[in-house]
């Protein structure tokens, strides 16, 4: 028989056992598992990992309201840049601020491109480093790095065009994210060299246009963006060489039907499109242009009607220009009212509807499946024309022929060199053609106006704005960017 006291002790011991088990068990598996994450220790290991990292480099270059720089909303480069020119005009909001060139450092609508996207240059820098340090084959690495460098070149050029030189963090700084280090902006020279290096390297290793997948980067695109860079810097020789390179790929030609490029599958079918951003209804990449430009009463499907073109712009098209047909000057709304220039209501009073895209009546959300065309072969031709004329100090028949090629497709008669004998006259013609050819595509017409010294005067002429001033050729940086620089970061001039 067990003594009651022994029994008690036995119970105590029995009880202590689970206590001890629990106590020792606790400390071991204190591991957090988040099934949504990829552990850095196992990444990147495979070709698929590499491709995923490359895809991530494309990510900021999408159209997306929240975080895609080529959004077709007021949060994207094209919408806002074209709104600072005669192509678009807004009555309120950021678009109005743009039209009046009234942007200030406190306008997030103008400072956010830098604040939201310039760190993606850093993502690409670290991505390139990760790829080059991975154990995969050199062939795969070269292919991958070429795409990432192209993405970095495009992004850096786009921001440089809007703001001037940027802060570009070197890899050593990026590898120590927890150490605070204010950086100054690059000099103009350094910035240009940086972008050129990327685009040149990318062009070397990217596939030929004929071999590249639709929607992905190729040699011609890298060179086309580089053309934009050297146009910006007015380095005509480089522009011409790059243009000739692209022409020599023999991959592109002008499409006979201008408007068809913006059909539902137009960009994909086109021989002229160098790069377009694929979009669909579900919106990994978004094109919401109809939503932005169509008024609510537009049939069969309306939109927010946030912006229109200007009658000033419309009036400068020649009457038989096919390219202005996508500027809607009259329509009958779902309210039964016919809106046109003489009876514009509050819709067409400033200008026609710039619907340079298939209306896509089937769209089920605010998004369309029409892809965003970014660069076309016509740009190569007009850039070459400008380079030839400016390099030589006077237009040539070769240059004029390049302009006329583009004009013929628009159904227009040739211009005669004799009528545009001076460089100024020829440059004015080029500028006009560029606006008529590239309106509402990539927003580069702003840079064209600036390059030709007409950005400010055009704004004054079209909108009568009293806010514009010579310093408005660059957007301001936010106060946050300034304070983060601790005195090293210098705001663009004039923004006080």
């Amino acid at each position: 028989m067990i003594h009651p006291k022994d029994k008690k002790m036995k119970i105590v011991k029995l009880l202590l056992l689970p206590l001890i088990l629990l106590a020792t068990g606790c400390t071991k598996d204190l591991v957090s598992v988040d099934y949504g994450d990829i552990n850095p220790a196992i990444f990147p290991k495979s070709q698929a990992d590499l491709e995923a990292m490359v895809n991530a480099a494309y990510y900021p270059l999408r159209g997306a309201y929240g975080d895609g720089i080529f959004s077709t909303s007021e949060r994207g480069v094209m919408y806002l840049s074209d709104a600072t020119t005669e192509i678009l005009r807004g009555k309120y909001g950021d678009q109005q601020t743009a039209s009046l060139q009234n942007f200030r450092p406190t306008d997030a609508g103008f400072t956010h491109y830098y604040d939201d996207f310039y760190n993606k240059i850093s993502r690409m820098t670290t991505t390139i480093d990760l790829i080059s340090r991975s154990t995969l084959s050199d062939e795969l690495k070269t292919k991958a790095i070429a795409q990432v460098r192209c993405a970095r070149g495009i992004l850096a050029y786009t921001l440089f065009d809007l703001y001037g030189p940027l802060v570009v963090a070197p890899l050593e700084v990026l590898n120590q994210p927890l150490v605070e280090k204010p950086l100054a902006r690059l000099s103009n020279e350094e910035m240009v060299a940086y972008i050129d290096a990327d685009l040149t390297a990318a062009a070397a290793d990217l596939p030929l246009p004929q071999d590249a997948e639709y929607g992905r980067f190729n040699k011609a695109l890298a060179k086309m963006v580089n053309i934009r860079l050297w146009l910006h810097e007015k380095n005509w020789a480089k522009v011409k060489t790059l243009a000739d390179d692209i022409i020599a790929y023999n991959a592109y030609s002008l499409d006979a039907d201008y408007a068809a490029m913006w059909d539902l599958e137009g960009a994909k079918a086109s021989k002229e499109v160098i790069w377009a951003i694929p979009c669909d209804y579900a919106g990994t990449s978004e094109n919401q242009w109809q939503l932005m430009v169509l008024p609510a009463v537009y049939a069969p499907k309306g939109g927010f009607g946030t912006i229109t073109s200007t009658w000033w712009f419309y009036d400068r098209f020649e009457s038989n220009d096919k390219r202005k047909k996508m500027l809607i000057t009259e329509f009958t709304g779902t309210d039964g009212i016919t809106y046109n220039r003489s009876s514009p209501g509050a819709i067409l009073d400033l200008g026609p509807l710039p619907l340079k895209i298939n209306p896509d009546a089937d769209r089920t959300t605010g998004l369309t499946t029409v892809d965003i065309i970014m660069y076309r072969y016509a740009d190569v031709l007009l850039s070459k024309a400008e380079a030839i004329a400016n390099a030589g100090g006077a237009p040539t028949s070769e240059a004029m022929e390049l302009v006329n090629v583009v004009r013929r497709r628009a159904g227009l008669a040739d211009k005669q060199l004799a009528d545009y004998a001076t460089l100024t006259l020829f440059n004015d013609l080029i500028l006009l053609e560029r606006s008529h050819e590239f309106w509402c595509e990539n927003g580069q017409y702003r840079a064209d106006l600036i390059r030709h010294g007409k950005y400010i005067t055009r704004c004054q002429e079209v909108t009568g704005s009293t806010y514009t001033a010579p310093h408005k050729v660059l957007y301001p940086f936010s106060l946050r960017a300034v304070s983060e620089g601790k005195g090293l970061f210098i705001q663009n001039p004039g923004y006080n």
Binding site: L15, G36, I38, Y58, L174, P177, C279, S285
Partner: protein, 1120 residues
């Protein structure tokens, strides 16, 4: 054994049996049976020692008259036979008639005092002289109770009891309250703990208990963030000092720390509002709520206790006969439309006028510019043509009343049944609750089914075990709520903004849209959306208590909180959004399993009668597993499938899923030392390890200590005890933690759709999404609390005063890294904040007589939350300072409305008449180029003088959005069988703009340009002919200088939250079936006293919020 003596009265009308027993009654049980059953047959019985005297009274109208015809001997014999059968086995029975008298402390007799035998349902009441008579056996315990008096128990010895004196109830200091991992007497407490008994709350109309705590606890801020059925609460204990980490307290239900349960997102563009964390718990099941406020009380909960702990203790069964309680109530909510929108005729008038104003404004016509209308027209601009003729306006009527279409009278229905009882060894409680609420917005509703069961079982002298199971199912019917606007406007917002000129539904069954706003939904069509969610919770707690030796208890505990939430919604083609996609069905599922495993050991011992020690040690481990998923489809040929046939949708929407696992492991201990009830000491420590933190700081230790001095126990204080019966000074100091970062501290790459292929296939991208912070650790709150508990005038007034100071250091915050980094934020421990404040709670017994008791509970509290220290590389806006309030209100200063003829201020050249002027008070320090400059820390500087520019330098700190003080007062009055409970809550020192007014009440811009409707106040807007000084023009929003503090208004309020009137039916009318019946009528949210002009100062946190509704409830509670 039984000898009978028959005395017959006048011929068989009265027969008396006297049962004589040879032995005294001893077996209570059988005596009880006898007492219970015999009266069923006999009119009256008396029990004396060894005798039962039964009198059979036969009334002529009863069935017994037949007996009259029978020979008396036959009757006698049959009755005797029956009786013999009945008491056949009675060998030892002794039941006696006990008489007694109940008086108050002064010896005055007390009537209607309930006297019952413990463990039975036998109850009698005292008469006007305080006398009672009850049949009881020796050693029976009589329970003598009356409202307002302390219940007494008296053991039966002899036939006549000495007079029982009842003391007026004053048990607050002897009250036992629940603390972390145990209970304590209130007088032994060293920490700051507030306790609320559910019986003092009016719990009839709401689905959960959180909202009912409003104004009941000093230092507890409860704000309903949505007044929808079951809507969510923001609950704060002593302010909110955390910046990024959560500020909500830890909720512990019967020892299980529970997690919040919300409806999943639906991916259908509409927001279902919020849910209270306590919706799963039937308020009728709750016994008490304890709010642990200072470090001494909370640090036993360690890393999750920084924001205080709310302990919810549910009812358990007690030994005794089965008790059945049933309650049922109905409430009624009448919707009163506070959104006073324009009817069609007035809207047309406003639209005409606004159109001309717009034309003038756009064309720079005086006073907006220098033109005249004639100039403008001459320049080729078409003149403004009125949209409607006066004749049309006069004859058009009031148009569509959208509110009328989407609202209804709401109400609740509730049934609650509980059964409890048991023996000394086994005790149980079972309860079931059905709660149904229909919201005042059509299709908004909530129903809950909940079942609770608990059993406590003593296995033997050493082992006790128990289990508690709570299961609940909540079915939500969602209306489209939330603060979204434009195409995502919810039903209330859509009803405000939709013009009265639009038809609700046309003859073809279509829902017309405003042609100028075709992307905005027809509010009436939103009622065709089906959006349901189901929240299921099963909380299972089990324990085994082992008491190997006296005073030593080991408790092993295992529990599980299993929650499944599901939301299913369908946007039909009748809605604009649904039509676009040809119907959209979505299903989301969230699944969560929390497991708790715990072991504690508690040892209590008293040495030398004065040194009382209580030692607690424990280990605990809680695991959290979550998984979520969603799927959907669109493009349906019919709306009939709802979400039940995703396969029939032409387009499959992207499906998503996610899962995570986390864990907290803990060791904790507590020592309570009590010297002679005079000096008290509590020391606690808890060490927590959390998996979310990275390698270097997984573990954190949170100690606390508290001392208390029971001054009233000191001998020198004895002479004051007539006035001050209790006086205790407390001080505590300690630390608690906060680990709620909703993430973890590890680096991670994330995968997401990054690009599309030419065939529109999603290509997945991977990039860094989180940086590792190897040093990340708990946010630590170091709190000091000074408290004073007192009880005056023999308990007529008691209460406590608390002063606290909490410093929250190592704040878990998202720190900005250099913005050029790909991932340019990181969760880090940076900066310090401080919460300071005081709390006063006072309970009084204003009047206390034998029939009447009036108690008042009052509390007042105040806190102030400030920054103490910022991150070293903090780069503030120019108007921010180091030690600003945490929820600072920064505004520019408005300076009235610019009137016609008045020159625009130099700093505001673009200001037009009717816009709001801003004061130029300061300017940036600028460099030679005029650019604002920064100091070496990257901070902008101000000159201190106006600079002719309105910018951030003119923005000023105008205090905090926290209330300056909070108060609550509850009155509980009982008079005989009546009871009245009413309470008020108040928040003082608040300012806010009325979001409905600023969105829809000022500008008529949208009325003209888009056909929006507006609140009637737009008629008072500034116009050239109505130069208002209080309301700006339609174009106020076009001022580039902002509006400053112009629309801010005082928003303090005092709300009459509840009034409840109850009546206990007198025992006389209850008969034998019921032991108590109470009927009650309640009103909730009866009125608000506030200078605020909007719909409600509490719910108006965004435009078109679901408003508070007055609720009337009627109910009955029945005890069997």
């Amino acid at each position: 054994m039984i000898r009978d003596t028959f005395k017959t009265g006048c011929f068989l009308r009265n027969i008396t049996f006297v049962l004589k027993f040879t032995q005294p009654f001893a077996c209570k049980y059988q005596a009880f049976a006898l007492i219970y059953f015999l009266p069923q047959f006999f009119g009256l019985h008396r029990i004396r020692k060894n005798n039962i005297i039964l009198e059979l009274k036969i009334a002529t109208q009863s069935i017994y008259p037949k007996l009259i015809c029978m020979p008396s001997t036959l009757i006698k014999k049959s009755l005797l036979f029956f009786l013999t059968l009945f008491v056949f086995q009675v060998s030892v029975l002794a039941q006696r008639t006990i008489t007694g008298k109940v008086t108050d402390a002064d010896g005055s007799p007390l009537a209607d005092v309930s006297v019952s035998i413990k463990g039975t349902t036998k109850t009698v009441v005292t008469n006007q002289k305080g006398n009672f008579t009850i049949e009881a056996a020796n050693a029976d315990v009589l329970v003598i109770s009356s409202t307002a008096y302390t219940t007494r128990e008296v053991t039966v010895t002899g036939n006549a009891l000495p007079d029982v004196k009842l003391q007026l109830e004053n048990k607050s200091m002897d009250e036992v309250i629940v603390v972390g991992y145990g209970t304590q007497k209130k007088k032994d407490l060293t920490g700051a703990v507030s306790s609320v008994k559910a019986k003092d709350l009016v719990i009839s109309s709401g689905p959960e208990i959180g909202g009912m705590l409003r104004g009941k606890v000093a230092g507890l801020t409860i704000r309903q963030n949505s007044a929808q059925p079951g809507g969510g609460l923001d609950i704060l204990i002593r302010g909110a000092g955390s910046i990024n980490a959560s500020n909500s307290p830890l909720f512990v239900v019967d020892g299980f720390p529970i997690s919040d349960l919300q409806q999943p997102g639906s991916d259908n563009r509409y927001n279902a509002g919020t849910q209270s964390i306590l919706n799963s718990f039937n308020p009728n099941d709750i016994e008490s709520i304890e709010v642990l406020k200072d470090a001494s009380a909370t640090s036993i909960y360690g890393s999750r206790a920084a924001n205080g702990v709310i302990l919810i203790t549910t009812k358990r069964g007690s030994a005794g006969a089965l008790k059945v309680q049933y309650s049922n109530n109905f409430s009624f909510q009448k919707y009163k439309n506070d959104f006073d929108v324009l009817p069609l005729n007035e809207w047309m008038q406003v639209r005409n006028e606004a159109g001309q104003e717009q034309w003038d404004f756009d064309n720079g016509v005086y006073p907006y510019g220098t033109n005249t209308r004639e100039d403008v027209i001459q320049n080729g601009i078409a003149p403004f043509k009125k949209l409607y003729t006066q004749n049309a306006i006069n004859n058009v009527g009031r148009g569509t009343d959208w509110f009328d279409l989407v609202t209804r009278s709401g109400g609740t229905t509730q049934h609650n049944l509980s059964l409890s009882g048991g023996t000394k060894a086994t005790r149980y409680l079972l309860s079931g609750n059905y709660y149904d609420q229909k919201g005042i917005i059509k299709k908004s509703g909530l129903s809950r089914y909940s079942i609770r069961a608990n059993i406590d079982q003593e296995v033997n002298k050493y082992v006790k075990a128990g289990i508690t199971l709570t299961t609940s199912r909540i079915d939500n019917d969602n209306t489209q709520l939330g603060g979204d606007q434009f195409e995502n406007s919810g039903i209330i917002r859509a009803s405000i903004q939709q013009g009265p000129h639009i038809q609700a539904i046309d003859e073809n069954g279509n829902y017309p849209l405003n042609p100028q706003l075709v992307l905005q939904p027809n509010p009436y069509s939103l009622l065709t959306i089906t959006d349901k969610s189901r929240l299921e919770r099963m909380l299972l707690n089990s324990y085994v208590d082992i008491t190997p030796i006296q005073g030593f208890v080991i408790r092993l505990k295992a529990g599980m909180d299993r929650t499944i939430t599901k939301r299913q919604s369908y946007l039909p083609k009748t809605t604009f959004a649904g039509e676009l996609e040809q119907g959209r069905a979505t299903i989301s599922n969230n699944d969560r399993d929390d497991y708790l495993l715990e072991a504690t050991a508690n040892y209590t011992r008293t040495f030398a009668n004065v040194h009382k020690f209580e030692l607690l040690g424990g280990v605990s481990q809680q695991k959290f597993n979550t998984s979520v998923s969603s799927e959907g489809a669109s493009g349906f040929i019919t709306d009939a499938f709802l979400w039940n046939n995703l396969g029939a949708g032409a387009i499959r929407l992207a499906s998503t899923s996610y899962g995570s696992k986390n864990m907290i492991a803990s060791y904790f201990g507590r020592l309570n030392y009590n010297f002679n009830d005079r000096y008290l000491l509590t020391a606690t420590v808890r060490t927590d390890g959390a998996s979310v933190f990275a390698a270097n700081n997984k573990w954190g230790t949170f100690p606390s200590a508290a001392v208390a001095w029971n001054i009233s126990q000191e001998s020198f204080f004895k002479r004051y005890t007539k006035v001050v019966s209790q006086l205790k000074l407390r001080f505590s100091y300690g630390q608690t933690g906060n680990a709620s970062i909703n993430s973890n501290a590890f680096a991670a790459y994330g995968a997401y759709p990054a690009w599309l292929s030419g065939e529109d296939l999603r290509l997945i991208g991977v990039s860094l999404t989180r940086l590792e912070n190897p040093d990340l650790k708990w946010e630590t709150t170091t709190g000091a609390n000074l408290g004073l508990d007192f009880s005056l005038f023999n308990g007529k007034v008691d209460g406590s005063v608390e002063l606290f100071n909490n410093v929250i250091s190592d704040l878990l915050a998202t720190k900005n890294l250099n913005s050029y980094q790909d991932i340019n934020t990181i969760i880090a421990n940076i900066g310090k904040t401080r919460s300071r404040g005081f709390e006063i709670s006072i309970n009084t017994r204003n009047v206390q007589t034998k029939d009447f008791l009036w108690r008042t509970q009052f509390n007042l509290s105040k806190y102030k939350d400030n920054w103490e220290e910022r991150a070293p590389d903090w780069k503030p806006s120019v108007y921010e300072s180091e030690k600003d309030p945490i929820r600072a209100r920064f505004y520019r200063l408005s300076d009235g409305i610019l009137q016609i003829g008045e020159a625009a201020p130099v700093s505001q050249p673009e200001l037009k008449p009717g816009m709001i002027k801003i004061k130029d008070i300061d300017g940036f320090v600028r460099d030679g180029l005029g650019n604002p400059t920064v100091d070496a820390n990257g901070r902008f500087l101000r000159t201190g003088a106006p600079d002719g520019i309105i910018d951030d330098a003119d923005t000023k700190l105008l205090g905090t959005s926290d209330p300056t003080a909070m108060a609550g007062i509850t009155n509980i009055i009982t008079y005989k069988n009546f009871s009245l409970n009413f309470d008020f809550t108040a928040l003082f020192g608040r300012n806010q703009a009325d979001p409905n007014f600023t969105s829809y009440g000022i500008s008529a811009y949208g009325v003209y340009s888009n056909g929006y409707n507006a609140l009637r106040t737009v008629k008072d807007r500034w116009t050239p002919t109505n130069p208002s000084t209080t309301q700006p023009s339609s174009f106020w929003g076009f001022s580039p200088y902002g509006v400053g503090d112009f629309f801010q208004q005082k928003a303090w309020f005092i709300r009459c939250q509840n009034i409840s009137l109850g009546y206990n039916l007198p025992r006389k009318v209850l008969g034998n079936v019921f032991s108590a019946v109470r009927i009650h009528a309640d009103a909730a949210n009866l009125f608000v006293i506030s200078p605020y002009k909007g719909v409600d100062p509490e719910t108006d946190s965004y435009t078109a919020a679901y408003p508070y509704i007055r609720t009337f409830t009627f109910g009955v509670n029945v005890n069997f």
